[in-house]
Symmetry: C2
Subunit: 131 residues, 2 copies
DNA sequence: GCCACCACGTTATATGATTACATACACCAA
DNA sequence: TTGGTGTATGTAATCATATAACGTGGTGGC
């Protein structure tokens, strides 16, 4: 897990908000939660989020335009993280699969595509909600 | 390839705009392009896009909040489409990988996750741009 | 002290998406 | 023919997401 002791006040607040949430939160939603703590403008939230994402403590969920605290603590060494997102309860499960990595790598080298950040998001229903 | 002869005027215009573009376009960008053709409001574009996506003629790129014309013509029978997106020139390449599909299915059934739409987007540099 | 650096704060604005409501036309049944 | 249903359309207003531009304030090196 990444070091967490050097976070600034705003970063700490945003991270706490995300860790306390059931699922992903949008930036403006976070802002509402943190108004009582003195945050007033979107940029304060976005700046904190940028840093937290950079540190790997928070992930951006593209298909929701929202953010979620990293729940894994696994060391995200550049490998692609898959997110299974329950559309009912909102919970997000992270996992990695070396075989994914391998297949993606194979396609990319076959096509001389220099790979950057990869997004893999699965929407659906989690076990509890599918019942 | 899906039937294209039944499109309405607005749908036709939006599809043509996307097919004429180098890469993905945002909805407001499309609107600008089509103002000369009489489109005036975002909703006109969004409605056309909804339908085109439904028909499989257009894909939404989540990480860009933008849309791209289907370049493959392959029959997208519910399988996950991977998009390789060049961050330099904007070009998007689609592909599918049955083995990938298989691994996804495996994880989902192991975790009793009922799978819905899956997003797989690879950002990076295409062969021409990586040079 | 002075400067560079970084976090922070504030306002305004750009971009993306939807809600609500009214209009127009094709098609079919009574 | 008339009325009703369904679908596409047009327009305005509004919500949601994200960034630009500018200024402030502390901290550490020199
Ligand atoms: Zn994580
Ligand atoms: Zn659930
Ligand atoms: Zn396609
Ligand atoms: Zn390129």
């Amino acid at each position: 897990m990444t070091d967490t002791s050097t976070l600034t006040r705003n970063q700490r607040l945003v991270l706490d908000a995300l860790e306390g949430a059931e699922g992903p939160l949008g930036a403006y939603r976070i802002l509402e939660e943190l108004r009582p703590n003195g945050l007033r403008a979107p940029l304060q939230v976005y700046r904190a989020l940028d840093r937290l994402v950079e540190l790997g403590l928070v992930h951006r969920i593209e298909c929701l335009n929202a953010f979620v605290a990293c729940s894994a603590g696994h060391d995200h060494g550049g490998e692609t993280i898959a997110f299974a997102i329950c559309e009912e309860c909102g919970r997000v499960t992270e996992f990695v699969d070396p075989e994914f990595e391998h297949r993606l790598g194979a396609w990319c080298s076959r096509h001389a595509f220099r790979r950057g950040k990869t997004t893999l998001e699965i929407r659906g229903l989690c076990e509890s909600c599918a019942a």
